[in-house]
Point group: C2
Chain length 311, copies 2
């Protein structure tokens, strides 16, 4: 069987990397010849999870057509979030939990998406459907992905299936998911050691919203006022990055993982600002807005913005 | 639970209608409130299958936003093959076995596609994964869909999973699938009673190929020379339909379901004709070409044309 690479989105998070590792195991058990790789370095949270369950960080690749003819995607489908030379290879499999946008293939493919909290939850269902045993370390990295994406089952993206998956996977992995979950989330919140440039890129994704190109970054913290001490520096870095890359607007979502609230920093033209106000029913004051209860970019930020930009 | 409609593509075939009926049963067992409908009248083959297993033909709808807020799709995803007001409702579920093209959602959704011979094969896997019993009449209509799409397991789209599904479903439905399959396929080949206008529309689908809009129709027959007696009338009707609807090219694929060969009638500009020749390694002679072994639009016609038009 010819080798295929499996990977998640750019600026990978624990779902992108963890699910790629677990899906590669799953597919190799089915006779495929796959390797999990990543489109960027593992972040602090992901590194914590990898170490906990005994995995090396996947090899980072910038292009794929130089080594394989076919690939499998996890946790994304939109081309601007994927590898830059994706149009030169064939996408044979996708597992995801996002909207579908600007994704097209020439041939039929295997595509499995569900509106659940994490791609690893979909994969967990696939293991169960086929009565396949999940090794403890694979269960651990899938558990980490679900905890990360659902903020320990508190994000509004969380479904009953995610909860069931977390309980079963925690048993297999042999950890107390509440205790481990807090450790994991906190491992990703140490922003003091990072520059504003790193922080606005760490978990940033690009989206086409109506005719606008939007960049939306998110950082998890336990202390929002500490993060906002660098507000002016954040805004300046966002402004610079937007100019350099042609983003019409740039949003930084600073999420308190303990309280499940977010503070948003926003740059963009007046039209984008008024669309923001329409989308969230809240005016930006001094480029900033408080969004109580908002923690999910996928469910609480991208859809209202998309609707407002397309209205 | 708010009602949702389930339907297949325009100019429905046995997969589009049969799988909509079976998926509606499946989803209602899961607590959804769905109704299977169709975007057109059942063809002769589908009517034969519906009658055999005791189903009424689904209600035909032209629009959906007037009655529901959300829909589920089977056997298609491309907008030009779907209901005309699809952009006014939410697509919550898709099961399919085609390429993904021009399909986009605002929110995450349930999407299940596999590169197998028929959408009912994917649905059969879903029944099995959940250990759900399949009633005999539902098994019969799913079996009919698979026989239809795979030309009784002879199309190159056929996989081992389709074969397994056919054998199991035939047992549940209590029919000899080879005997029933021939009856079913022959029920769809009585073209003598139909006008050329009806025949070029019966199983026609539109595709975006590069910058061209293509119309590709297919008719199943047991006697190709009989069909070709009306060649000039077919070409004139295709020409007229292309002009009226803005198709850059129109292909009629006349497939012998017993021999698994096809004769193609083709109209289009010189560029399209030379792209056809490149795609199939065969020049059109007098607007006609013989394509031995070609029976699958999805696998043997659309991909080579797409590649040739995009090259």
């Amino acid at each position: 069987m010819e080798k295929e690479l499996i990977f998640g989105h750019r600026n990978p998070d624990t779902d992108a990397i963890g699910t790629a590792i677990a899906y590669s195991y799953f597919q190799n058990q089915h006779g495929y010849n796959t390797e999990a790789v990543a489109l960027g370095e593992a972040n602090d949270e992901t590194s914590f999870a990898l170490k906990k369950f005994g995995f090396e960080a996947p090899r980072v690749v910038k292009t794929v057509a130089n080594e394989v003819k076919a690939i499998m995607l996890v946790d994304h489908n939109e081309p601007q979030q994927s590898v830059e030379d994706r149009d030169q290879v064939k996408v044979t499999h996708v597992i995801d939990h996002h909207r579908i946008s600007n994704f097209a293939t020439i041939d039929p493919l295997f595509y499995r998406a569900e509106p659940v909290g994490c791609t690893s939850t979909v994969l967990w269902e696939m293991f169960k459907e086929q009565n396949m045993e999940i090794p403890a370390n694979i269960a651990g990295i899938m558990l980490s992905a679900i905890i990360s994406d659902t903020l320990l089952l508190k994000s509004p993206t969380t479904t009953d299936i995610d909860k069931e998956a977390v309980e079963e996977l925690a048993k297999i992995a042999g950890v107390d998911y509440k205790e481990y979950g807090l450790e994991l989330l906190k491992a990703g919140t140490n922003i003091a050691a990072k520059s504003v440039e790193e922080l606005i890129d760490l978990d940033a994704k690009s989206f086409e919203l109506g005719s606008k190109t939007a960049r939306i970054a998110q950082v998890n913290v336990v202390d929002v006022p500490e993060a906002l001490e660098r507000k002016d520096a954040f805004l300046a870095a966002m402004e610079k990055d937007a100019k350099a890359n042609g983003y019409d607007l740039f949003m930084l979502v600073i999420t308190n993982v303990l309280d499940s609230d977010s503070e948003v920093l926003f740059i963009g033209d007046d039209e984008s600002k008024s669309v923001f106000a329409k989308a969230f029913g809240k005016e930006l004051v001094d480029s900033e807005a408080h969004l109580p209860g908002v923690v999910s970019r996928k469910k609480q930020i991208v859809p209202p913005l998309t609707r407002a930009f397309e209205a």
